[in-house]
Assembly symmetry: C2
Homo-oligomer: 359 residues x 2
């Protein structure tokens, strides 16, 4: 599909969490209707025209879904290959498989980034305990052993402080293919939300500075602490990644800031938690930008018109709702999840202040 | 209901047009789900959890609807009394009947405003041709004969340039109760979007300056051309109206600016087209403000952080979509209506520029 999907068309979204929900709302603003595919609980269904509740193994449901929409996108990268096979035969899927297969596998991703000449954490493929011990010899400790696939929010990761811990750590992978990553000595972490459309047009939002706790993003702040040349580097490398993947849509690129270079931590082929600040800091936010990119509309201008601190509301952060509702500069975005659970992202708040000069 | 409806609750919305649609999206941002009641085509259904398609005469459908939601609001004021009777017995309806009965009838509305000491256009009740002729004697021409009920966007109105036209004009009312309104010699028209909640808290957005063509709003601009004291007068009188009606929710108050005073044109007990600029000019927009008011949450701060010109996209204005999508400062809001028709509101665009000093 190199054509434009005109407003009025229907967009299918794989995944019905908060990202799917905010994509659906943005699509509606542009006059599209949406259909969510989600096996489990589905906050997105409340703001979408339709919802197919079926598993990713249900090929007949997948076919029916694909035939009822003009275009398919997704809110998460761990979509089973068999499901994608079933979908792409019936309907364009954007972003495409290249971005998915690259980002679904930490080893493939690191090799792809290295090929582009970009800095990453030192890494080694680990298929056996012998591999792991050899990797520790080369990379040193501390290091992190990570499953190559299906990790998110710190899951599927074991920290190795000392090589005596190698065997226990390897056992925790339970036979899953893994990589060992060395630590990067970074001062802080930033991310760039980059958009690219089928015409090759690229647009980045200002980098955000991210703070994690317990492996989960807590806050994203714009402007980030970056020199002018670091900011430009960040944007250029994000654009290079998107172009090399022939990417269509919005992508998150996480970067470690080190004295020498920006080191790519990981890429996410989807709208990204660290881009939620754009909802209140830009005329066109990351969700609308993604919809514009996949439908072939011109990308929006990513200019920021305010400073923003985005704070995730996780688990019992929801108890603070009464106070948050009283804050004059706080824009609330709740996800409509029925149950509060520890570690669960329930919403976020964007605190908006007038644009400051670049620091 | 003086209690707060906590996020997670379900809000019923009478009417499924663009106002219902944008209310539903705002409710979702605060974690509420929505259920639309709409007999006809329903742009709002695409962003709501549920939709009852039934007429306002279907008491059983109304009952079912009311029993499935925690709270009911509406996007239009011409709700039949019998439908309201059926609803209020099962569920709180906000704003309440006082505001509806006042604004549904131009005569009652004008009398209410006069009682508050507010200036209105000169008016007379017209029940017969003799009444009309007497009214013309008192008010003069030109004047406008308007049905007391069910008028909107210039419908149900006849302009009388000369008393010789009285008989033809009266015949056009087809026996409907009417009023004759004299012309007001105004320089421009502004409106205030005022919110009030059950605790009596009141908050106004900055007045917008409105331009109509063919009886339909074309643009709303903030800041409006108003002196500081006029701006304060506008806000004070809007607050006075809301308080006198014991109003709960967001209300639009249209004002004519004359050298002597602000003359109230009409009030609309709902979110208002002239408040759409708040979506991109304020941290909390009129739709969220309405949801906050009716659910008992604290009102948001209505402060404006940008200048905005809102332009309605009417009928074949939609042909300009390609150019609008290329404008960097243009935030598009399309309503997802299936069919473009002359005079039909298809969407709007908010053009955002940095905050200017008050003019």
């Amino acid at each position: 599909m190199n054509d434009v999907l005109a407003p009025g068309g229907r967009i299918g979204i794989l995944g019905g969490g908060q990202l799917g929900r905010m994509l659906a709302s943005a699509a509606a603003r542009l006059g599209y209707s949406t259909h969510i595919y989600e096996p489990g609980a589905c906050p997105a269904a409340d703001v979408a025209a339709d919802w197919t509740q079926a598993s990713y193994e249900d090929l007949s449901a997948l076919h029916g879904f694909a035939e009822g929409v003009d275009l398919i996108t997704f809110e998460f990268e761990n979509i089973p290959s068999s499901a994608l096979d079933a979908l792409v035969s019936a309907c364009p899927v954007r972003p495409g498989r290249r971005a998915l297969s690259t980002s679904q596998d930490r080893l493939v991703e690191k090799e792809f980034l290295s090929t582009l000449g970009l800095a990453t954490a030192p890494y080694r493929n680990v298929e056996s305990l012998a591999d792991l011990n050899a990797a520790i010899d080369q990379i040193g400790t501390p290091a992190i052993l990570k499953t190559r696939r299906f990790g998110y929010d710190g899951k599927g990761q074991v920290r190795i402080a000392d090589r005596a811990e190698a065997e226990v750590a390897f056992a925790q992978m339970a036979g899953a293919p893994a990589i060992l990553e060395g630590f990067v000595n970074f001062s802080h972490e930033v991310s760039v939300i980059v958009a690219r459309n089928a015409s090759g047009q690229v647009s980045c939002f200002d980098p955000a500075e991210n703070l994690h706790r317990d492996g989960i993003l807590r806050t994203s702040t714009v402007p980030a602490r970056l020199s002018n040349s670091q900011q430009q580097d960040a944007i250029l490398l994000a654009g290079r990644i998107a172009t090399a993947l022939d990417y269509i849509g919005v992508m998150g690129v996480e970067l470690f800031v080190t004295p020498g270079a920006l080191v790519v931590n990981e890429i996410a082929p989807r709208v990204h938690n660290s881009g939620h600040w754009t909802q209140n800091g830009c005329t066109i936010d990351q969700f609308e930008q993604h919809i514009r990119a996949i439908t072939g509309l011109p990308l929006g201008d990513g200019r920021r018109h305010a400073d923003v601190v985005m704070e995730n509301l996780i688990g019992d952060d929801m108890d603070r709702l009464p106070a948050l509702l009283e804050e004059p500069a706080a824009a609330l975005h709740l996800y409509g999840k029925a149950e509060v659970r520890a570690g669960r992202k329930m919403g976020h708040v964007n605190r908006v202040t007038p644009l400051s000069p670049r620091s």
